[in-house]
Symmetry: D2
Subunit: 482 residues, 4 copies
């Protein structure tokens, strides 16, 4: 297993083509906007080394029997699923941010099942290829990006109906030694912090869309892959002097637009190709796992609740009944998120491939709550924090020889607490409710792993409404049974 330092060193060796604010970035590892996001990913290596987190962050490979990072692991039992939920929350609280590595884990697990199922039906050898790749990932302790969302252009059109055929990533040429692909994947979390990028289709496909039914993995710095870094609320604060105004002084999230401009994929890295009827299954399997992963938001919720409680104490309001009520409400909503993610894990099951899969109904319920509760929690945090969160002068003002004394005097809270602490906490709350953290805690909670309507649709498909109808018939005196 890699140490955090080894991980970061390995990133230096990658030859990414990255653009940010219209400029190509040569040393992305030390870039002030990118580095905090890499620190997040590095935390998944760092904590795996610490004895107190080992039980969560590591697992035993079913391929090699070796200790591996859990993010490279294929779930071998319910305990693995449960630990995944708990690891997510823990890391969310540790980073106050998106640590980006879950998407790769979820992709690996989904592929472990769907390649197996496709092989069973079509006599293909996708699973064999996949397991070879998996072993490499485990042995090298790699971080993988799982790339799903296509550009889509007009969303009311299917892939093959789009005027521009590249709006969904597709195979443009089939060669003897592999395939050439073109297209783009949007919203790629942790893209330039990853060693490998694993591509999946973004939706269920029909016969006519079969060139779009492709899954594969390539090293993230493969020729033809271009990363265009997405900007976030308050991103440039990371480039300012000082650290206070960033709110979260250590970590951040990252999303890129990833362009595939005729990228070559050798056959042994192709995990699905033209078996269009498995595209939807791969999406659903990945999505269910990834919806479970949003347990991390309960961890960010922990940070926000902690900050909110502290700021109330600093301002002398912590004992007011209405403030106390808001904080308990935040806890309640946050724990409800945690419960749903844990339940879909505890109530998972074994699939034919041997991989353990979460309960898909409850995974979707978990995520649908995540599209709502963080917004309420953030609102309560802002209520308790007070308006100062958005009117406070900058760190430079606080430290200024001329006016710093005024800022310090008039931002003081209760006796005995440094002004700087109050300022830092307010910036952290700003970060999570409006700034870079809000990208992750709010908007990503809404759309990551699928927008809320996608969850509703899956809830409709997985709930046993027929059984409910039977119960209603029986009790009302219509012939029916539970």
């Amino acid at each position: 297993m890699k140490t955090a330092k080894e991980y970061i060193d390995s990133m230096r060796e990658m030859g990414f083509e990255i653009y940010l604010f219209g400029e190509q970035i040569k040393n992305h590892v030390d870039h002030p906007i990118i580095r905090p996001t890499m620190n997040c990913a590095a935390a998944t290596y760092e904590l795996a080394e610490k004895p107190e987190y080992e039980h969560l962050l590591t697992a035993t490979s079913h391929l090699t029997g070796k200790k591996i990072n859990r993010f490279c692991h294929i779930h071998q039992g319910l305990d693995d699923l449960v630990k995944k939920s708990k690891m997510g929350r823990m890391l969310g609280a540790y980073t106050g941010s998106c640590f980006q590595r879950c998407v790769g884990m979820d992709t690996l697990n989904a592929l472990s099942m769907v390649t197996y199922d496709a092989d069973q039906k079509h006599g293909t050898e996708y699973n064999k290829r996949f397991l070879k790749f998996l072993r490499y990932v485990q042995d090298e302790d790699l971080m993988c990006d799982g790339a799903m969302t296509d550009a889509k252009a007009d969303r009311s059109l299917r892939p093959a109906e789009q005027p521009d055929p590249d709006q969904y990533l597709h195979v443009v040429e089939e060669k003897s030694d592999g395939i050439m692909v073109r297209g783009a994947k949007l919203h790629q979390t942790g893209a330039v912090n990853s060693h490998e990028i694993i591509v999946m289709p973004t939706r269920a496909m029909r016969q006519e869309d079969k060139d779009y039914a492709v899954a594969f993995a390539v090293p993230s710095d493969t020729k033809g892959i271009i990363y265009i870094y997405g900007r976030q609320s308050c991103d440039t604060r990371k480039t300012e002097e000082g650290d206070m105004d960033t709110g979260n002084i250590l970590y951040g999230g990252q999303e890129c637009m990833v362009v595939f401009e005729d990228v070559f994929v050798p056959w042994d890295r192709v995990f699905l190709y033209k078996e269009w009827e498995f595209a939807g299954d791969l999406v659903e399997k990945f999505a269910a796992y990834h919806r479970q992963s949003y347990a991390c938001k309960a961890g960010i919720g922990d940070v926000l609740i902690g900050a909110t409680q502290l700021i109330a104490e600093h301002q002398g309001t912590a004992k007011a009944s209405h403030i106390r009520d808001r904080i308990l409400e935040m806890v309640h909503l946050n724990e409800t998120i945690a419960c749903c993610s844990l339940t879909c894990a505890h109530e998972g099951h074994r699939e034919p491939s041997g991989t353990y899969f979460v309960n898909p109904l409850w995974a979707n319920v978990a995520k649908l709550n995540v599209t709502r509760f963080p917004y309420e929690i953030a609102r309560f945090a802002q209520e308790v924090a007070g308006g100062l969160m958005v009117t406070m002068p900058s760190e430079k003002d606080l430290n200024d020889p001329t006016i710093g004394k005024y800022v310090a005097k008039y931002l003081k809270g209760v006796e005995g607490v440094p002004v700087e602490h109050r300022a830092r906490l307010l910036r952290l709350i700003e970060n999570i409710t409006l700034g870079m953290g809000a990208v992750c805690y709010l908007t990503e909670s809404m759309h990551g792993a699928g927008s809320p309507q996608a969850q509703k649709i899956m809830i409709g498909r997985t709930a046993n409404i027929d059984r409910m109808k039977g119960a209603a018939k029986r009790l009302s005196g219509i012939n029916g049974s539970l």
Copy 2:
């Protein structure tokens, strides 16, 4: 184990003193208002006999190794806790009502821990007495009422401060062979369907309240115990001809005011007496278990969702997007309830006594959601059902030779569905959202196992806010640790 018939026969032999509508009820077993509630309790016996429910409804006694009804069981592992949650939901769906037997189960489990802990501290022998009683309950397969809520009069006063000392049940005389108690327990669910009544204090006590710190069990028909039956919305529909207008044609819930007018309790049935510092602990332990028990509301939610889906189909609206949306929202909220109850079970732990205890934070979160979501689910059910639910003529009108034809003609829905089905489903939805079922699905969801504020207080006590504060400090640059 008793069969359902044996249970009902055993009820006939009890000598209860019951009053209903100002009259003493002699044959309560066959009383049209009481019998449906007894059918509910009987279902806990009936299903224990059925192979398909045996895994949920039965367990192996840790005292005797015999197969016993789960409602008499002391949880011996996490699996027991999880099955309890699942059994509750299943029975909720089976009865569409409150089956009343969980309160006794939760009382037995709480006493199994607290009697042990009290003995450890005080050298008393409460646990030994309790285990003897437990074995009797298990061997005879008895239904127990757990009686907690006192009358309280002015709730801003503590027990010993009340002008009338009987407002909290207390010991009025200590004798050589036992104690005499006086007071009343309100809201006693399933009281006259129970063989035994187990009394607990209703709140934490102080030294000065020690005469109120008493727990014991007596047969439910002990001399001096008077049951005054509480009335419910639409209760007298059970006494009308026909069954359609009752909505739930089989089952119902029951709550009584139970007066203890100088009731004698022999020493071997006394499980706590004057150890006031354990009163609060007993309340909290019982409450956490009982808050888990509200998984049953997800079962009633199943019935309501099933009825709502059916009525939409009958009315030709099931495919309308807004109707579909409401039903999926109902499912989502209902499954969120289920998730929280399951999580507090899966994440329980072993107490010193050997009994497994639910995670109290998540048990409280579960119940707090139950005080909210059923009201929203009921609102959506009414939205989909339409106004007919409250304007439909009676069963007598539908069957009337003169006007029945009009009722039938103008209540028709889509082709091919009998009018009677529509009427029955609307009455079932009325039952659960306004009638006898609403008592159980709404008001009891609000106040049973403690009102929402009680859950908020416990959430505040059990959440690890210090850890959250540490995380916030670390990320904002104040010295802190996760």
Copy 3:
């Protein structure tokens, strides 16, 4: 203008054909279930006589210049519209129930505009006929039922597509002196408390539905009209001895299924016939007025808030911060309802006919809030009231010589408040949140004047989204204008 007594006497003289619980009711005026609903209607006469309510309950006829009951009035200015909203809330608080007369008022006002508009287009004389009828209604101070909702059977089919042509009320024969109609109107509020019944179409019509595009008025006891009384939650409590358990001891609501079995309508009572393109307009105009009318629910909210505050005082919890918070939340939601109803009145306008019409956007917004907030208010009321609301013994138990003393002892609240007061308030809260009052306060709030989706659709039609798009374009730098 009629006095309340004269109104009730006039009801005695009507020859209705009414069925209730399968029996024909001969003296409906003194029927224990019907009379409280008639008392509600009578209140609209009674208060018109009282000086302190005269400004709200009376108006000056634009036809005759005489003082008339406002319920017979055509709005002649914004002040009339505003007084209508205030009258509704006041009467809601006075009766705690549905006083039933607004639907006739709203029908008269809608017809005053649509008959005028149809005449302008088609050269018909509907408005002349209507004004003659209106003058009769004003002179005699009549209560009118406005009948809109058809049976509809399969709601996914249009009128002319239904297998049974009578599922929407329609003209079955055209005669020299009038028309014969057949069909049924459901959910008819206050039907057997009305002198006249005014029929309207229930939806927009197309050419092929033109036989369904009919509006007219007939005396409510016209031959061929049959009233089948709808049953409500807890309706039979009105037939029990005592009054306490009814909760609202004075008033109640009423809905009937009204069957038109070949009813003759003379031409001078026909206000629309075959001009199908005005059917939708009539529905929308009526609906907007009627959605304004739901200001009455703020009045019922007043009653519920008052009862909730009193019960908190009786139980010693009124000063607890969480209880105080719930009551203020109830007030806030209730006043929001009131604000929206007032705004659509204050911001109304004059139509070509001279009638003043409410702002339709805000009338729909008002009603959409009414489909939500009463449910939340009711939930808070139940939270504050406590579980006793659904477990309390009956009035007979409280008055029983044997057990009444126990009931009284153990239902006592704070010192100095009679137990009976506590019981009466709990029954009132039960009435409004689960019983007869809940039919009116909850389900009718949901579906009366159209279900929530109908309001959403109208909000979409009446909001100026193009203007909003212009503002967004301008600010984002796309060519646009406010």
Copy 4:
């Protein structure tokens, strides 16, 4: 009246002492962060000149009979109050931001009443002084900042209890020609866009706090006043090249910390001093007016709804039923805000001073809704907008010669809409839900004009709960009256 250009020129002549990011700003008028906020204020001048807005933006002075800007006007009737609400919404839609001038208007109106009332009681001449000042403001068409919120330090302590006496602004020296004051006012909206700053106490005072009971006005650039500019989410985007990434290319909001370091106020500018019993009244009067002013948020809501509808059209999702539903829900919530603000105006009344005052109950209800609904509207906007809002590359990337073509290709929406439009709309939605606009639309909605708990307290004081209790008593059979 000043033109917009004259207003901006007048700002150039002011001698403010302003600090931003630790530097003193000399030419604040042209500062890229400050100028957009000044443009907002200038809009209140600009639109007053335009015929189509004249009816909203201008009024007739009751002092001089001249046409004046409405922001300098004392409300002389209900029509003035209503136009104020409508002007607020219109300007909110015009600027998509906080135009800052309402706080001065609300301060002037509150002082017009409270100075009068204080004079009536104490025989002082505050009103005379005030009217002289008012006339100057009207004649010169000045923008005034109303300064209320003190620093407060430990909020659980009263002014006179604070260890640092300056935590509430107070009089430090009384001179023959005036007073010297010291302290600070936080969150001062539009401070450095104002000609005058009017100071008020921030809370009700007691006898011992009388030195803190002071109200006065001074020119904003008076010696001793120091402005420390508060930073906002994404503020530095205004300093970047291009305009697209700012979202709102024209306008922005502004809040400053304003330090009063021994500032001299001549007697004729002192409007309250030591009459501590009027401090609370001034706060409440100002607060009620200012809570009405939040009608502007309905205008920002208009912008956000417009942007959301456009982005749905650009992405091909506008006809999906769930997208349509979210947009209608946004409209509904937004119009509910508008209704409440309008009602408190329509239902205002004349105070003894002659000034018209809003209905305080409904003004508080209006604001309490504003602390909630914008957050929900913002959430729905993010749901419809999709994740691209937070992952989209920068304007520089879109315009880059190398990679711009990829960005353009893969950000395309439906045919026929320029990519730039999509990008601009997403940035506008980002602005209002996370960026500079969110400061104004969300956090300011929460805390401006007082935090939600302040509104709840005022709702409790102004609602007629006794009348509600009377209604409940009467209907339940306890002696009571409506």
